[in-house]
């Protein structure tokens, strides 16, 4: 089956650091995190290769957390990379 993200990875020259997929501001999939730095309902931050990602929103929940992936659900307002 065609996978849009795989296609991007395969065909474009990108630096493999992390992947963020935001679905309708309700779900945020994260690949390649290096550990949580902050966890609350309004702010979830985590380290990534070469920086830090800050996710801001309302009623956010860390629905899944593994060694290098996570799924954040809630009302996601902003995703910033530092």
């Amino acid at each position: 089956m065609f996978n849009f993200f795989d296609e991007i990875k395969n065909n474009l020259v990108v630096v493999e650091k992390y992947n963020l997929v935001n679905i309708s501001g309700q779900i945020l999939y994260v690949e390649g995190h290096l550990g949580l730095t902050n966890l609350s309902k309004e702010n979830i931050s985590f380290r990534v290769k070469g920086g830090r990602i800050v996710v801001e929103g309302e009623n956010m929940l860390l629905a899944e957390l593994s060694e290098n992936t996570m799924k954040i659900v809630g009302n996601i307002k902003k995703v910033e990379a530092f």
């Binding site: 999939y29 550990g35 949580l36 730095t37 902050n38 966890l39 609350s40 309902k41 985590f46 929940l61 860390l62 629905a63 899944e64 957390l65 593994s66 060694e67 992936t69 799924k71």
Partner: protein, 376 residues
């Protein structure tokens, strides 16, 4: 990330610097629904198979475990094992239900109009070998019903749930199929004016005087072989019939009228005991009396009852009048009494009256002649 259907265990922990510790734990096991309840309080879930590993990690890292709560299927299995009484009751209930479901507990009869439902129901009940569903042969029941009830033209028997449903279609037996034909009889007395025979044997002819109840057409015909054959009699027979109305007049009559004088008395009762009375002897020579009973007054706490007696003085009035003075009125009264019996749109062919007097009483009989179909 995959959707996980495995049962999970929920941990509620208390510690400082939780982000770092959770990140470390996530390297060992996958965490679900990580919820920061407070600055130092967090809850999360792990799959049951990772319970021991998670617990060990938390203990080794100085994280206080506040609550451990089972979730998913495992939790329910544990519940069932620890509440064997409920499980046993459930199993027994299921067994009782399964056993009783094997029996028919109700018989429903549909489609009966002439036949008696209760009669069929008791017949079916007796015809069933038992109430056990598997022992009931619905086809055999259908045959038995058809054999025992002539009126049944079609029948289906089915077991629906725990009800034996008998659906009946009743046979329509036209009159021609039987020999129970009734003759046409006259509904009125009169002189026959017209006969249109369709079927049957005539018992009267035009001009005959018949009385109510006389047979007009017999329910048979004589065929070419001279044999009597039953048929349903059909004919249209008309006759001039007479309708009577009467009125009466007496030359001497008495009537009672109230004079307008009256006397009223009352008695008051409480719980059936008479506590007041002003009843006196009635002084009227002639009188009529009325009696009534009711509450003394509305909205009273105690149930006072009152009986009221009213006496009306009366007088006798004697009237004398000659018939000649009221003759027209009495004839019209008799006519009106006859007209009551006239049918809608019926034409009066003739009308007359007779007057008979005896002992001061005069009777007027008014006779209307009309033409009417008399065969019933």
């Amino acid at each position: 990330m995959r959707k996980n259907l495995k049962s999970r265990t929920k941990f509620k922990i208390k510690s400082l610097n939780q982000e770092k510790k959770l990140s470390s734990l996530a390297k060992l096991v996958r965490l679900y629904n990580v919820d920061r309840i407070d600055k130092n309080l967090t809850s999360f879930e792990v799959e049951d198979e990772n319970f021991k590993l998670t617990k060990k990690f938390l203990e080794n890292n100085g994280i206080e475990i506040l609550e451990v709560e089972g979730r998913g299927i495992g939790k329910y299995i544990k519940f069932l094992f620890s509440n064997w009484g409920i499980v046993l009751a459930g199993v027994l209930l299921a067994i009782v239900y399964i056993v009783q479901y094997q029996f028919v507990w109700r018989i429903e009869i549909d489609g009966t109009e002439i036949l008696s439902s209760s009669e069929i129901s008791s017949f079916v009940s007796e015809a069933m070998p038992s109430q056990f569903k598997r022992a009931i042969d619905t086809k055999a029941l259908e045959v038995k019903l058809k054999d025992n009830f002539e009126r049944i033209s079609a029948v289906s028997v089915a077991i629906i749930g725990q009800t034996l449903v008998v659906n009946i279609s009743e046979a329509y037996i036209p009159d021609e199929m039987g020999d129970n034909f009734q003759p046409i009889v006259s509904q009125y007395s009169g002189i026959i004016t017209r006969i249109d025979l369709i079927q049957g044997t005539l018992n009267v002819k035009q001009g005959d005087i018949v009385r109510e109840g006389d047979v007009l057409v017999e329910p048979y015909i004589i065929d070419t072989d001279g044999e009597k054959r039953a048929v349903k009699p059909e004919a249209k027979i008309e006759a001039d019939i007479w309708i009577f109305g009467e009125s009466e007049h007496s030359e001497y009559s008495r009537k009672i009228e109230r004079t307008g004088n009256k006397a009223e008395f009352s008695e008051v009762y409480l719980f059936g005991l008479k506590i007041y009375s002003n009843v006196k002897e009635n002084e009227f020579e002639r009188y009529e009396s009325e009696e009534s009973e009711g509450d003394l007054s509305k909205n009273m706490l105690l149930p006072f009852k009152v009986k009221r007696y009213t006496y009306y003085e009366t007088k006798e009035i004697v009237e004398n009048s000659k018939f000649e003075e009221v003759k027209d009125k009495k004839i019209d009264e008799a006519r009106q009494n006859a007209l009551i019996y006239l049918q809608e749109s019926e034409i009066i062919k003739d009308e007359n009256f007779t007057v008979r007097s005896a002992g001061g009483v005069t009777n007027v009989t008014y006779i209307l002649t009309v033409n009417r179909e008399i065969g019933g």
